[in-house]
């Protein structure tokens, strides 16, 4: 599949009210008073009172009368034939009601397979063989949680172990076939390219300097503190299936369930209650969800399934696993001219990545990053291995993290190779602020940016030049100190629907606002917060547009029976899509409010102008109607011939993605004896356009930075040669604590998006995307003089210690 740049020439119309000019500023825009609390206010979160008092409602908190519990028997092998399943002892246990196997699902209507988000297939429960360690083999349903947990030990599965293929390069040889259910007996899933190969070859042929590096972005796990789970509640009398589910995309899930199960869609209600962290891991449908729903269908009773932590760390929610070989070309003046990238994507046993349909490698082709270059070519091959399906996001917009890590490492390698300061090298090669909108060599149209301003600010914040001097002095004394930069460009907010869909469902998002007679409001959205604070920030958007105090606006999401259809929250898309929909719906209300105000004031609509929370007569502001007065009139005294009420819905299809960016600088000290990397300082300058709530944005950035630190230094899902997961508990998979997490130093610039109705961009994932290469670059910067060019993340003390030993620094 080739990504064709020409397909994005025709832009969707840019909405009215979008910024006409794009200038970079430092100050947050605030246009409403504290009493209204529109955009830019540091409003305390409206959702917090329930969370701080233990009144959040997560899936495992749901308790329905007669509820049963499900537990799952999992495979001890990464690759094995199933010879037989003997559940008789389990079924004889008091309290056990059912054991559900793959054959049962097959007989129930071929439910033993399900489609993945990438239109591949994945086993729900196997019949003939298992293809990854910890794979779901069958499920036990019992009256109590503990009985179900006991009973899974009493199901006897006879396996014939097969040799697994764990290494993706081995898998490409097709000596062991993971998916022999497929017609084509190969592990190779797809080949995908972007950019211009011939033009890239040309610039490489003419280059003064070419650098090359291989790197692995290892498999990691989102490890949200809440695992995945469901309460399925099928009502056999009414034929209605209620699914309380840890999902970031309830509406799309409802449609998928309807298509797979054959249940009519109006009889399926997906409710995503409070979610204890998602980060992409709660986008896909995992086998447990499907089996849980079937268990409720079979028993006619509510059934609860909650993963334990080891199941979660061993079976689902995996990200990354890209093996990258990159080359960068530069001319004699140190200008980057081209980039060539080949990548092997280890998908595990199914292509279940959470990507838009047309993008099997996600948005990886954003890999030219913040740099202006003539040509680029990127090729990716997807391959099956005997590992659980991977490719969920880990707080990342569809593979942009892998792309940014690669380009930021390559920029540093090129700078060092040329003997040049990496900051100076970047400042020379940035896409200039006057080059936007910028057409990248791989076909993206960057909406706005000012990369120099962000890097300069970060350098000023920590006095970069002084640190370089300190480093030189320390190096002379034999001390290891490094400074790493990452000047990343993010790409978030999918749609536009022309290019982006999930299983054919276009990637718009939606908002519905209903104003009550007393001027208070309820607003529902197609997205679903997992901690991002939508109940607050969406209220602030509506407050900004209509002048109704944010405190007077109730925000709801996650119930497919009540909320408008949307594609959900992931890939930093909530503000770019649903946030925009909220603004557009508010503007529809404002337009109707104008008609009502004109009627009440007995003037023409054109005689009115909007001011904060009211329509007022131009030149005579004493004559006005506030939004509250207009709301009351909409139900009590509206013009004859006009529909009563004051509400609006908007399905927003963005004209383009938004391209937030930033520059991060990390300072590390390395212990020569142990190889431990200490992050001394970390300055993060982010630019996400206009800010809705600075406090929430800071929270998103700080949290994202720690989730960038984590894979850079600590986290990796490790498999042995048998495909066994060696990191199946939080004692082995090292999520950073408050001790490892540095005191982040934040700065910002504000460069609005020219096409978003509020000038905003997404922000939640920028820090996760931008932080790892800043840390890796700092470590390599400390060691470059010892001949070190690259260390794969996570940069553990052991890896550094070995490097130091090989360099003769320690013994």
């Amino acid at each position: 599949m080739t990504h064709n740049p020409d397909s994005r020439q025709e832009m969707h119309p840019v909405p009215e009210g979008a910024s006409a000019t794009v200038e970079t500023t430092d100050d947050v825009r605030v246009t409403t008073p504290d009493t209204i609390c529109g955009m830019g206010h540091r409003m305390k979160r409206k959702e917090d009172p329930r969370f701080i008092q233990g009144k959040g409602r997560y899936v495992d908190d749901i308790k329905l009368p007669g509820m049963l519990y499900m537990d799952i028997v999992r495979s001890p092998y990464a690759h094995a034939k199933i010879l037989s399943i003997d559940a008789s002892e389990a079924l004889a246990t008091p309290g056990v009601l059912a054991v559900i196997t793959g054959k049962d699902l097959q007989e129930a209507g071929d439910l033993h397979w399900m489609p993945t988000l990438m239109s591949d297939t994945q086993m729900v429960l196997p019949i003939d063989k298992v293809v990854y360690y910890a794979q779901e083999v069958c499920a036990v349903v019992a009256t109590e949680r503990y009985i179900a947990a006991d009973a899974i030990e009493k199901v006897f599965v006879d396996y014939e172990p097969l040799d697994p293929v764990v290494d993706p390069f081995e898998a490409m040889k097709d000596e062991i076939i993971v998916r022999d259910d497929k017609e084509e007996k190969t592990n190779h899933i797809w080949h995908w390219e972007a950019g211009d190969e011939a033009a890239t070859d040309q610039v490489f042929a003419e280059a003064a300097t070419v650098v090359e590096e291989s790197m692995h972005i290892p498999r990691i796990h989102v490890a949200s503190i809440e695992t995945c789970g469901m309460v399925a509640n099928y009502d056999p009398v009414m034929g209605k299936m209620q699914l309380y589910m840890t999902t970031q995309a309830p509406h799309a899930i409802r449609t998928v369930f309807a298509l797979v199960s054959g249940l009519p869609e109006q009889k399926i209600q997906v409710i995503s209650p409070d979610i204890g962290g998602g980060f992409g891991g709660k986008v896909p449908v995992y086998p447990g969800y499907v089996v849980c729903a079937v268990a409720s269908l079979v028993t006619g009773k509510p059934v609860k399934w909650i993963e334990d932590r080891s199941e979660n760390l061993q079976a689902d929610s995996f990200a990354r696993d890209y093996h990258i070989k990159a080359q960068m070309a530069a001319d004699a003046d140190g200008r980057i001219t081209g980039l060539r990238v080949k990548t092997l994507a280890d998908n595990g046993a199914a292509d279940a990545a959470a990507n838009p349909s047309k993008f099997p490698a996600g948005l990886y082709s954003i890999c030219t990053g913040s740099y202006d270059m003539k040509a680029a070519h990127v090729a990716v091959d997807g391959v099956y291995t005997n590992k659980p399906p991977g490719g969920v996001a880990y707080r990342c917009s569809f593979r942009v993290t892998e792309a940014v890590h690669m380009i930021e490492r390559m920029a540093d390698i090129m700078a060092h190779e040329r003997g040049e300061d990496p900051a100076d090298f970047r400042l020379r090669n940035f896409i200039g602020p006057d080059q936007f909108p910028y057409e990248s060599p791989t076909g993206w149209e960057y909406d706005s940016g000012n990369y120099e301003a962000a890097l300069q600010k970060a350098m000023d914040m920590l006095d970069y030049r002084a640190l370089r001097q300190e480093q030189a002095e320390k190096r002379a004394r034999g001390e290891l100190m490094g400074i790493g930069i990452s000047s990343f460009t993010e790409v978030v907010g999918a749609g536009p629907s022309r290019d982006f869909d999930i299983l054919g469902i276009k990637m718009f998002d939606s908002a519905e606002i209903r104003i009550h007679p007393t001027g208070k409001a309820i607003a529902r959205f197609g997205t679903k917060s997992q901690g991002q604070g939508h109940e607050t920030t969406y209220a602030q958007i509506i407050a900004e547009e209509l002048g109704i105090p944010a405190a007077d606006i109730e925000v709801e999401e996650g119930d497919t029976d009540t909320a408008p259809y949307g594609l959900g929250t992931y890939a930093s898309r909530s503000t770019p899509t649903a946030g925009a929909a909220g603004a557009m719906a508010a503007r529809k209300i404002k337009a109707k409010a104008r008609k009502i105000a004109a009627y009440l004031l007995e003037v023409g609509e054109d005689d009115l102008e909007w001011e904060t929370d009211r329509w007022q007569v131009k030149g005579s502001p004493d004559q006005h109607k506030t939004i509250q007065e207009i709301s009351f009139a909409a139900y009590t005294n509206h013009p004859q011939g006009m529909e009563a009420g004051l509400e609006a819905t908007d399905y927003y299809d963005p004209p383009n993605l938004t391209f937030p960016f930033g520059s991060y600088i990390c300072v590390v000290d390395i212990d020569k004896g142990t190889g431990e990397v200490h992050v001394r300082r970390f300055v993060a300058v982010d630019d996400c356009g206009h800010i809705i709530n600075p406090m929430v944005v800071e929270g998103q950035i700080e949290g994202g930075l720690t989730q960038g630190l984590a894979p850079a230094l600590y986290e990796e899902i490790v498999y042995d040669e048998y495909g066994q997961n060696l990191t199946g508990t939080l004692a082995d998979y090292l999520v950073p604590t408050a001790v490892e997490s540095p005191k982040w130093e934040l700065g910002k610039t504000i460069t609005p998006s020219p096409h978003h109705p509020l000038g905003a961009k997404g922000v939640g994932e920028s820090p996760t995307v931008g932080a790892p290469p800043a840390i890796a670059n700092a470590v390599v910067d400390a060691l470059w003089h010892l001949g070190v060019r690259h260390i794969d993340i996570p940069i553990t003390p052991e890896k550094v210690w070995r490097v130091l030993r090989n360099a003769g620094v320690n013994d």
Binding site: K44, R45, I52, Q53, K63, G531, G703, L730, V739
Partner: protein
Amino acid sequence: MSKHTVTVTVNGQEVTREVDARTLLVHFVREDLDLTGTHIGCDTTNCGACTVHLNGTAVKSCTVFAVQADGGTVETIEGLAAGGELHPLQEGFWEKHGLQCGYCTPGMIMTAKELLANNPSPSEDEIRWGISGNLCRCTGYNKIVEAIQYAAEKLRAQESTEEVVA
């Protein structure tokens, strides 16, 4: 499985229930008493989402049996706001944006409560070490540290006011 009758004072109220010998304290609190503010995030005492106070000490209730609490006192997040007034820690987490998804929050607050009881004026480093048995995936911890500092200050101020009154 042997059954046992346990009597525990939970958030100031004495309750008596029959439990299995193996019933975990966290399941007792969540499922027998319907106090679902205490969460489960791992099963290996790593994440701290299930932290409650048992006899005045913060414990990870996923690795304590309910029978071990017999005759004792348990305090959970639901017991923190006295008479509808938020505890300074709850206030601090709200003021300083010390939470996002809210899942780790009750455990984090209960751990912080013990920390401040033992050390009313902790340094930033002491706070970081003090909560290092509790994992948060959303916040990056800075704002949690600030929330605890806010509460420490407020608790010290309350303490000195009470001394003046006394």
